[in-house]
């Protein structure tokens, strides 16, 4: 903008007698750095005043996050409070090692650090998911055979 470009040439901007614009800028910087509400400087016999009343910061308006379309709704019904076992893989969730076997873990069961609780299959690889702490399985949040994304909550648990 032309009005702003006038400063380009570095010619002194400040008409005689007025406080140097750079001084005012520096003041304004102090002002903003310390989130002041008022600076007053007089000069004849000195007088400096800094003042601040409290004001809360205001969150910005965010455009995006309205509607992320998620293919695998695995992460969706995240309602309850508590701790969860989350999927570190993307793939298909299986509670059983094979279709007619028993589940790795039953609801209500206590499991120990290192126990396998389910399989997440991807690219024909069956990734066994081991729990990383002792806990009780309170609820399974994903249906057998359902796709899950990274971070999908698979089980609600209580740490022991």
């Amino acid at each position: 903008m032309s009005k702003k470009r006038d400063t380009d040439d570095g010619a002194p901007l400040t008409p005689g007698g007025l406080p140097d614009i750079r001084y005012v800028q520096a003041l304004a910087e102090v002002f903003s750095t310390y989130e002041l509400d008022e600076i007053e400087i007089e000069s004849g016999e000195h007088r400096v005043l800094l003042r601040r009343s409290d004001n809360a910061a205001q969150p910005a308006v965010v455009v995006a996050p309205a509607a992320a379309a998620v293919v695998a709704p695995a992460a969706a019904p995240v309602v309850e409070e508590g701790e969860f076992i989350e999927s570190p893989f993307v793939g298909t969730f299986f509670r059983r090692p094979s279709p007619d076997a028993a589940p790795f873990v039953e609801i209500g069961a206590s499991v120990a650090n290192g126990n396998v609780v389910c399989i997440v299959e991807a690219m024909k690889l069956f990734n066994e998911l081991e729990v990383e702490f002792d806990c009780r399985i309170e609820e399974c949040l994903v249906e057998d055979g359902q796709p899950v994304e990274y971070g999908a909550k698979l089980f609600r648990v209580t740490r022991r």
Binding site: D8, F89, T92, A122, E149, Y150
Partner: protein, 458 residues
């Protein structure tokens, strides 16, 4: 030969993910975004038809996590993968895995990616195809070999890592006595950076211009070029501003370079879009490297030719011939792209943070490709590019005027950006006159002047 594409997983983020989603939309193809937990509020997640979280913020665990990406394609039922640029775009192994899993990789064949990823093999192949290359060597077996080559070629020379490219892993040597030592350092650094210590020697050109040619090739042997781009304005080998067509090339030289690029692509049987980069030294030009991907700066070519390169790339991957391009495209006007980064405009250090206010320029001849919005948080995990501002005008003079006014309307508050650098460049006589070389910024950058632009606009 036809492999219809119905649903594309985009293995990328940021503006290029959005760019691919847009092309898919317009082609009537479904899109699947992937995202890291850091990007859950990203526009590519919002505007894709579906989205799958593939890992945490670190790229190595999400956007570079091949098993999770392939699994995401599987669970979403995608039949093709678009790699964008960066991340896995030039990783032959990723293209191979895609093929093995029955996913059409929207890009060239893995062997071409591998070939062009190896700068020594690429050089040799191009030389055989009759594309000019700089005097130089193959992989050095000893420092002595480098010294012998330097004596033959003349100083200065440049040491390059065979696995490098894009300006990474290079050392200029002006003093023969220092060459042996530098070879050893370069080898060690290449080993550390790329897991491959191969380096080679080339003649160093003091005042080169970076000219590249956009190639479009189908799987039926058809190859056309969509003119060249001028990308000499770089900082630390990263392009800052790109133009099409280039300024200050004679028509004869322009035709020769374009023909050489087509020859290069034909020689290897290249398919998909790609870019052959040349170093121009006066009225001579030399093959530098070939980028086997869609590039950041593809937009300037789109603006002057009217060809949608990403749509074309998808069509080519589905086996379509490019016959129509030959007839359809007609260059019109001049286009310039500014890469707007979240970085200090002088020090180039990245500046992550939250964008508190944002205004994109608009109006006639102005295009913005961006994934950011008011309130967007720029993560330190990824590339600092916020937006590409592309302007088009009837001629270069009018394009530059439009560039200036668009830059003045471009408002990003809350974080530092390189907008002041662009505003400053847009008024430099050496830029306006054109014909600048790749040392433009090193030569002319006036930190105080750029900072004063910053203050004017803040």
């Amino acid at each position: 030969m036809s492999r219809p594409i119905r649903k594309v997983l985009i293995a990328n983020r940021g503006e290029i993910a959005l760019r691919v989603i847009r092309a898919c939309r317009e082609l009537g193809i479904s899109s699947v975004a992937v995202y890291s937990t850091v990007d859950k509020d990203a526009l590519h997640v919002r505007f894709a038809d579906e989205a799958v979280c593939v890992g945490p913020g670190e790229a190595s665990k999400s956007y570079l996590n091949i098993p999770n990406l392939i699994a995401a394609a599987e669970i979403a039922g995608a039949d093709a993968v678009h790699p964008g640029y960066g991340f896995l775009a030039e990783r032959a192994d990723f293209a191979e895995v895609c093929a093995k899993c029955g996913l059409t990789f929207i890009g060239p064949k893995p062997e071409h990616m591998a070939l062009m990823g190896n700068k020594v093999r690429a050089r040799e192949t191009m030389e055989e195809a009759g594309v000019p290359v700089l005097a130089g060597t193959g992989v050095l077996k000893s420092p002595d070999e480098a010294v012998a080559a330097a004596k033959r070629i003349g100083l200065p020379v440049i040491l390059k890592a065979s696995a490098g490219g894009g300006g990474r892993g290079m050392k200029i040597v002006r003093d023969l006595s220092r060459l042996p030592q530098t070879v050893e350092t370069a080898q060690a650094e290449a080993q550390a950076a790329f897991g491959d210590g191969s380096v080679y020697v080339e003649r160093y050109v003091e005042s080169p211009r970076h000219i590249e040619v956009q190639i479009v090739a189908d799987c039926h042997g058809g190859v056309v070029d969509l003119l060249e781009r001028e990308c000499s304005i770089q900082r630390r080998h990263q392009k800052v501003i790109e133009e099409a067509p280039s300024t200050g090339l004679s028509d004869e030289l322009r035709q020769e370079i374009r023909a050489a690029a087509v020859r290069a692509a034909k020689a290897i049987g290249y398919q998909s879009v790609g870019t052959v980069e040349f170093l121009v030294d006066g009225d001579k030009f030399y093959f530098m490297e070939m980028n086997t991907r869609i590039q950041v700066e593809h937009c300037v070519t789109e603006m002057i030719t009217g060809v949608d390169l990403v749509a074309e790339q998808i069509r080519l991957a589905s086996g379509e011939p490019l016959g129509h391009l030959d007839r359809e495209h007609k260059a019109r006007g001049h286009a310039i792209e500014c890469r707007i980064n979240a970085e200090d405009p002088v020090m180039f250090s990245p500046q992550p943070g939250t964008i508190t206010a944002l205004n994109f320029p608009g109006g006639f001849g102005v295009r913005v490709d961006s994934h950011v919005y008011g309130g967007y948080e720029v993560s330190p995990c990824y590339d600092s590019m916020l937006a590409k501002l592309i302007v088009h005008g009837a001629d270069r003079d009018r394009a530059i005027r439009r560039m200036r006014r668009a830059l003045e309307e471009f408002v990003v508050e809350g974080i530092k950006t390189n907008l002041p650098l662009h505003r400053w460049i847009s008024r430099q006589p050496a830029f306006v006159e054109g014909g600048y070389d790749t040392h433009f910024l090193e030569t002319y950058l006036d930190a105080d002047a750029v900072r004063s632009v910053l203050e004017e606009h803040s």
